[in-house]
Symmetry: C2
């Protein structure tokens, strides 16, 4: 029952050298007789040595770790982002801290603060409710931050985002070309920028076509159940305003859309004959619902990958020149694509 980890000092003693020598041998730093090096590596192996990244981090001021904060880990949208980030960080020898902040700005900041306390080398925050608010917190410590889907005008931070407005617009135009005239929007109250952009696209596009953008309701969150439960009230609203049901529903995302489709079918309405339904994201299951769901493909995994790549680039640059360049924050826009299936 060996209570203690072996340190480079232990190895040094066993090998009859000093610990700095072991340190060099282990990391291949500086030239040294390959004889002693081999011996040291040998002994380290035998003793089951594992370098303490904690101690190393304290002296080098780099922990080879990054922190990721998302709203909801179990949401398939974020799951894929997490997966993308994890893949890249892991491949580059970085460890990943994960935290969630279910639509709570305070919690989000607390999460980031705790990661800073752990000296992460970089941060990624998806769908931040804070955005530029991190400026004062981060400027002192100089930790780089990459935002995902938090595009704010004049962002102080590097930002990866998807062009929700353009995507939604194209979806709307498709519906209009199809001859749909009573197009309702089923939103999500607890989403930030994504909701804002998508709803704005709905209003704008309908406005341009001289169609009324009046029937809309927001779900409390983006669960399937939420779309299912909210849809009936959306129908009531349509009845009140138009005297009949919508002939198309644009949903905040696929989950909400799936719930809405089910609810429509429960009421005896046919999709897409009576009501067309469009989602957003193109999650895996969208291709397998009945009817299959037309939607907008947002490359979530790739966005996670890209965010991590940008962050790691930043860290590498930091190693070179000492922040003199101070280049402007990068903005990387993803555009996605329309995916037409059966529901619209």
């Amino acid at each position: 029952m060996n209570r203690k980890r072996v340190s480079i000092k232990d190895i040094a003693q066993a090998a009859g050298v000093s610990h700095p020598t072991v340190s060099r041998a282990l990391r291949g730093k500086g030239r040294m007789s390959s004889a002693t090096r081999a011996r040291i590596l040998q002994i380290a192996e035998e003793m089951g040595y594992t370098p303490s990244l904690v101690a190393r981090g304290l002296v080098t001021q780099r922990t080879e770790s990054v922190g990721l904060v998302v709203a909801d880990i179990a949401d398939p949208f974020y799951s894929e982002i997490i997966k993308g980030v994890e893949q890249v960080t892991q491949a580059n020898g970085f460890s990943l801290f994960l935290g969630s902040a279910i639509d709570d700005a305070d919690q989000e900041v607390r999460m980031v603060r705790s990661f800073l306390g752990r000296h992460v080398d970089g941060l990624i925050v998806s769908s931040s409710q804070v955005g530029n608010g991190y400026q004062p917190i981060l400027e002192d410590v100089g930790t780089p931050l990459v935002l995902i889907n938090t595009h704010v005008d004049g962002s102080q931070f590097h930002s990866i985002y998807h062009q929700d407005f353009q995507g939604s617009q194209q979806m709307l135009q498709h519906l209009i070309r199809q001859g749909r005239r009573r197009i309702a929007y089923l939103g999500n109250r607890s989403a930030g920028r994504a909701q804002t952009e998508r709803k704005r696209a709905w209003q704008t596009t309908l406005g341009q076509e001289g169609l009324p953008a009046k029937v809309t309701l927001d779900c409390p969150n983006s669960h399937i159940q939420s779309g299912f439960a909210t849809l009936p009230r959306l129908l009531e609203q349509a009845q009140r305003i138009w005297g009949e049901a919508p002939d198309a529903i644009v949903a905040y995302n696929d989950l909400v859309a799936i719930g809405a489709m089910k609810a429509l079918q429960r009421q005896g309405l046919r999709v897409p004959e009576d009501v067309a339904v469009m989602g957003f994201d193109d999650i895996e299951v969208a291709a397998f619902t009945s009817p299959t769901l037309s939607t907008w493909r947002q490359p979530r995994y790739e966005m996670g990958v890209r965010a991590a790549e940008v962050l790691l680039d930043l860290l590498r640059e930091e190693d070179g020149r000492r922040e003199d360049g101070e280049e402007p924050p990068r903005e990387i826009a993803f555009s996605g694509e329309l995916v037409l299936r059966e529901s619209a």
Copy 2:
């Protein structure tokens, strides 16, 4: 452009005291004049002090962090587990390292090793392909490990698992009561114990009822698409062996089942009239497919929560007595429940 973080020494200097005093003030350790304490806290606040958990970890030998390894982050099964673990760790002030090891035992071990290098206080591994193999790695460092869904006989580690065998058995019995006689199993090649148990239940239960357990095929993984693509070949096999289609299909999990349902419908077979379909897990979308999916509810989120709770308990105990108790590993079995919907 403050390149340097403020340390307790900086605060000490500003306050005209020694740094240990600051340390105590900040953590409320030992009694001291509340006057100076207030002043110190005040100054720390003003200077934007954040304690370095790296340095603290080095001296206390506790990092207040845990490492979690799962097979696939984006799989809804694991997503919920991650969420459960994260919720509990976060609530207790621990940070969470997340890593994935897509069905690769070596990768899994590498992940655990890297977490050990980071001095995590505890580890959780879901669906481990290594299991007791961690014994030699962990005994030296004494880091506790909790396994999820990796129940091996005579496990050396604490283990949270779901009783897949019993669950599957009840599902089978339901189908048999319904009068189904040609029951096929659509599995998943890349799953470990879960696959083994579920398939074994299928064989055993059918055997007990004198029914043939002959038609079975394994998907390459547990994606919807995988179930969709593999089902046709399962039908061919049934045709060859029985001369007709199965009247029921038990799938490895809900994702595979959803793909299978879609493929069946594509072939003009009705679910459940011609073929009943049962999934496993009860993921959110299962209640919203057409037809809605009958399945077995596995409390994934709760299992994640429980795993984290057990681990944190272990850590608290460790603080007390010095590992003398050495109690036997706990085993916590979850049982789940049958969820009957339209598909079977």
